[in-house]
Assembly symmetry: C2
Homo-oligomer: 508 residues x 2
Amino acid sequence: MEALGLFASPADAAPAQGFAPPRAADLPDAARARGTKVVILGAGTAGLTAAYELGKAGYDCTVLEARDRPGGRAKTIRRGDRLTDTDGVTQVCRFDEGLYFNAGPARIPNHHVTLDYCRELGVAIEALVNANAESLYFHENTGTTDYGELASTAVTHRQAKADVYGYISELLAQAADQGALDDVLSPADADRVVAFAQNFGGLSGGKYVGNGRRGYVDAPGAGHDAGVVGTPPSMTAILQSQFGSRFSFEFGWDQAMMMWQPVGGMDRISAALAQAIGGRRRITYDAPVTRIENTADGVRISYRLNGRVRTIDADYCIATIPPMVLKNIPTNFSQTTKDALAVPTAANTGKIGLQYGRRWWEEDDKIFGGITATNMDISGIWYPSSGFLGRKGVVVGYYSGSYTNLAVADREARAVAQGVKIHGAKYRDELETSISIAWPKEPYSLGGWVSWPGGRGAAYDHLLRPDGNTYFAGDHLSYLIAWQAGAFESARLAVTALHERVAATAAA
Amino acid sequence: MEALGLFASPADAAPAQGFAPPRAADLPDAARARGTKVVILGAGTAGLTAAYELGKAGYDCTVLEARDRPGGRAKTIRRGDRLTDTDGVTQVCRFDEGLYFNAGPARIPNHHVTLDYCRELGVAIEALVNANAESLYFHENTGTTDYGELASTAVTHRQAKADVYGYISELLAQAADQGALDDVLSPADADRVVAFAQNFGGLSGGKYVGNGRRGYVDAPGAGHDAGVVGTPPSMTAILQSQFGSRFSFEFGWDQAMMMWQPVGGMDRISAALAQAIGGRRRITYDAPVTRIENTADGVRISYRLNGRVRTIDADYCIATIPPMVLKNIPTNFSQTTKDALAVPTAANTGKIGLQYGRRWWEEDDKIFGGITATNMDISGIWYPSSGFLGRKGVVVGYYSGSYTNLAVADREARAVAQGVKIHGAKYRDELETSISIAWPKEPYSLGGWVSWPGGRGAAYDHLLRPDGNTYFAGDHLSYLIAWQAGAFESARLAVTALHERVAATAAA
């Protein structure tokens, strides 16, 4: 098949730009492909994608899903949702109808294949506000770090950037202008650095004295209201605040704006995938897998449904169950595979959704979406990127692993207490209801994502190959861990490998 | 009334945060207010706002509008729209149904009062992508400036920022580390500057060598696809490109993200205002004003309608007609007022909307909204901030005054030729239709906005006061020129002044 150019070479199989969906026409005898049965374990993004892409070539796919819904960690929490964790603690979501938050993945970068699937599946998208000049930085002193006069002061991203860029530019211009960089800069380049600094820092005569970029004490308006710019804190205060250490977040390959989310919740993608593959015709819900067995010429999967154990035989299996879960399911995998599945460790993370009766962040603070970043253990406050100008809204009050082992009520109390430090008493007083998720305690996930201790080594490499007729897929088998794109790309890789094998078998 | 605290003092009347809509209850004899007739000239944002706010107190408002629609310069161009300019040249918009672009104001910052009106009027908003890591910078050499090896090269904002911030940080770290800034930095601050530079520039051992922030030659994916980062150009090449001079645009008080637009077009705001005041019960369209006359106890306005000149008498007038137009309408204003109206000069600007049969900027280039900035005279290319993942779209191909005096076909040809330099032949080949607007040639506008030569001086001050019973309002009488917020704020100021006067008269 390689000679025909139908498949990429194994060394770089299915790169993001190079994936071609399997086609029945790729196979010498199309009928054989139509008769190929594949059982896919897990109806998360990877499992649904595998079924979707294999379905394009006529593979007969069955998806087994332990939960009562598709999507896996791509979970949107809405009114009436019931969460029971591995401790047996149950929460029921009391949000108003129409309000929600994305408990798992919440953002999609421009360049991820996720958007291609949204286009192909007709999933509408809208902006996910990952950066906003009006959201805040808040650093409180710790036992080891003194943030100076701006400690425990909420400062807008706008103001922090204007002040940091202002002073940094002042230093840069001075260094370049006074010849301190003459060993690395030509005179022409030194002039260019000074010109850059003047513009970038908004300097006046080489000095930073504040300007409208940082915001106004009294904003410009009509008539004689020219606006009043505030006076910036000292250079030392700005440097000591360490707000500048936050800026590079926004430059990240996966974090730079623009970013996107499906209209109506992240689970609209998995809902569209589930529908595209035929829904319950293809997917069996509430069906936890109890055994995976490679047989002489295929696979035999056992699962529980309605209290009884059932089995299904197929030619191939694609297991997209997270390794922390999969390693506990009896199999006849090789010992190397079993050992490999035990290597990745679960990321401890979780979120709380706080429903407020009033969108005070918009009305009072002019914050329309975005994230307030803090060194407190909530890590950040996410203002909603939908429902703008409406009455109520759900704020994500932490994105953190520090809350996993707290009782549900304590999670809310702790997160709210930190929010009060930033936003004042309304953060507590106007709260209506909350619900929190701790991914390590979420059945069938047992973690937010995985880490590969020591990096992607032999165990990672091993799981990129099938064990018998069973393939593995999921974001954990990608360089896009914790992103849905990792699940999409990994599923494509497994699908390509499986299809190549079927094609080669059919041709034999 | 001031003593009662109902009105702010004239010196700072109606600041953005302090406006209180007029109420009938403010007046000693509410019936007198209900009987007060106000004629408002112009159904643009200022005129509609004046009618809307005065209506809250029961004023009897009539709005005269020369055009056949509300909104003035807040114009959204859609299929079937007919534009006839002051030269008599007519264009008809041939866009597909559902496609449009905002020919006038197109963005709303978080902090503008415009969003408060959207909330109050129920106008849904969505993100306006004013900055996007995937949009481009493109500088071509001019007779006076050589941009070096990156001249005429389209570079993503992402890459330009990573490279500029990388090298600049390298310089900064070196200067701080080697003691070149010891006269202005304490040792502790010098350490903080170095730490900032390492993080901000993404340095490796104090040097910038490129990293994922700038993007990948081969993006990370699944399996063994770790991604390949490209090698940055030299420091000299980066400095000479002058891309860094573009960054501060995004820091501006009025330009920093997030920014917003009404769902469906900017004219949804004026449509909602027009509806809120009673539509055609209050607004007479196709009614150009032919004379404004202050009378002994009110105003008399003459206007043309259906070929006949009619008059309307009222107690007060609020004239929101742009000064370039108003100065040509016969009045019995004082000579000082007439002279003042002749002072502001019209801004020369315009836009072209280019409909493409395919959203190639999204499909090929992963550009979802945002603006490509260039030193060519198109100034920029705006990718649409709505209709994402759809089939067709309208790109704004210039925002510039350089096209005003070109024939319609030449505008398209010139703008497309520049776009081809950035995006290649598809920019020409996939174009389906276009329409352009030149604001200086737009009847009843005669300019995009105004400038006050020499700054806001005596003429500006004079027009903040009424001439007889005629008040003036519009963005030209604000510090928010060219922004709808300027029109809102100015209308509020005029409304407050008029209401104070009526209240004082009523109390007398």
